[in-house]
Subunit: 220 residues, 2 copies
DNA sequence: GTTTTATTCAATTGATTTATTGATCATTTG
DNA sequence: CAAATGATCAATAAATCAATTGAATAAAAC
């Protein structure tokens, strides 16, 4: 009995369906920062434990995440770098071709100071600036996410603690702030605060997500 | 009123949902070969016209395809190269991480001569062979798909007509056959026939789909 | 070996998605 | 302008998916 083309597409569509829920995408974004047990993922995504568990198993069946028992926790992680590539590609497609997305992205940031925020840096620009040692790189995500892996050479200054760390930051060099990815506002919040205090600052908005998706190394 | 992260993920999930149906993936595979009106797409995917139309609009809302009226037909096409990248990435993920997929892929080809078929060529291998002018490249898809765009330098020999074209093919050079993509069996069927007739033949199984996804040019 | 903790399973309910049917709309042809 | 063609829309029924609840497991702590 030969296998029909359609059977293959049906199995393949599992991957698509797994990516077809906002909650599951939120889980994946969190896993793009660090591997994590169910409880943490549920908390970060605003889901009940049981519900998160089921979504995670959905992702697992689709091959997007793996799970490993560690003591009494079940630690989930992305299966490989390709999943990041899938996510960033989806983001690009949505940003470019879905009008609703553009509208929301606009509103995500211009709460009060629309015009003031500079264009974010691209990864290529950031890499060039880093090579030439021109900038101070600032990871404004929470401490645990920084510890689980961050851009080489980045300092950690969680956005909530940023105010208390200003004296440690240079005023004569440009600062580049980054966070989780395009849908994360930490770097935006940080940049606004820093600019108000007289720092020169830009953002690498694509963040950890795009960096990892490009296959670039993280430091620990 | 600020936009929540979750709203963004919900919009983004439209892209995933659009990829979450075997029928829609079949439509996309066809569109990866050539742009086409609804009727053709419905026929190729075994869907009713109305149903195909609705699936296509689903894809359109997700930004995966665009439609342009041409006379009384509505011609659909992929929005851009990124969609190909999405599809090939999904395939890779499924092949690597979903056991069911591996099983089906195995059964797709080994109907009778399991062991005989050589490992397919990778794109890199093909490119090297082409540069050195070592091989004759054979596009075994239907004529119209070939005409809509094919690998530079490829001859067209639709698998159904292949038997009548054997005399035009070289016996002293290796032939490389390719078709639509990993789920297309044309190149496999062609390779078997050619091998039976004493030709030296290999397959570039990833086909047009992967070639385009890599951003490489087609000839017309 | 019982209790505690973290997770999964199973059953239920409500919400989406899908395929089908027949009607409608836009464009071209006679 | 009427008829024909290609595609979309609207309404329905069937199938699938999502969130909730409470029970069941598995490992660790007592």
């Amino acid at each position: 009995m030969p296998v029909s083309r359609q059977e293959l597409f049906d199995v393949l569509s599992q991957v698509g369906r797994a990516l077809g829920s906002g909650h599951r995408l939120a889980l994946l974004e969190h896993l793009a920062q660090k591997h994590a047990p169910v409880e943490e993922l549920a908390g970060a995504s605003g889901l009940s434990i049981a519900n998160a568990s089921q979504h995670l198993q959905h992702l697992r069946r689709a091959g997007l995440v793996t799970a490993r028992r560690d003591g009494r926790q079940m630690v989930y992680r992305l299966t490989d770098e390709r999943i990041l590539r899938l996510l960033t590609l989806m983001q690009e497609v949505a940003e470019t071709h879905i009008a609703e997305m553009e509208r929301l992205m606009g509103r995500l940031f211009d709460d009060d100071d629309a015009g003031e925020t500079l264009e974010p840096m691209t990864r290529a620009q950031l890499q060039r600036a880093l090579e030439q040692g021109e900038v101070t790189l600032l990871d404004v995500r929470p401490r645990e996410e920084y510890r689980a892996g961050h851009l080489p050479g980045a300092l950690n200054a969680p956005v909530v603690e940023l105010e208390t760390m200003l004296s440690a930051l240079p005023r004569d060099r440009e600062i580049v702030a980054y966070c989780r990815g395009v849908y994360c506002t930490f770097s935006h919040d940080a940049a606004r605060l820093l600019r108000e205090r007289g720092f020169q600052v830009r953002r690498y908005q694509a963040g950890i997500m795009e960096w990892r998706a490009a296959g670039l190394p993280l430091a620990e």
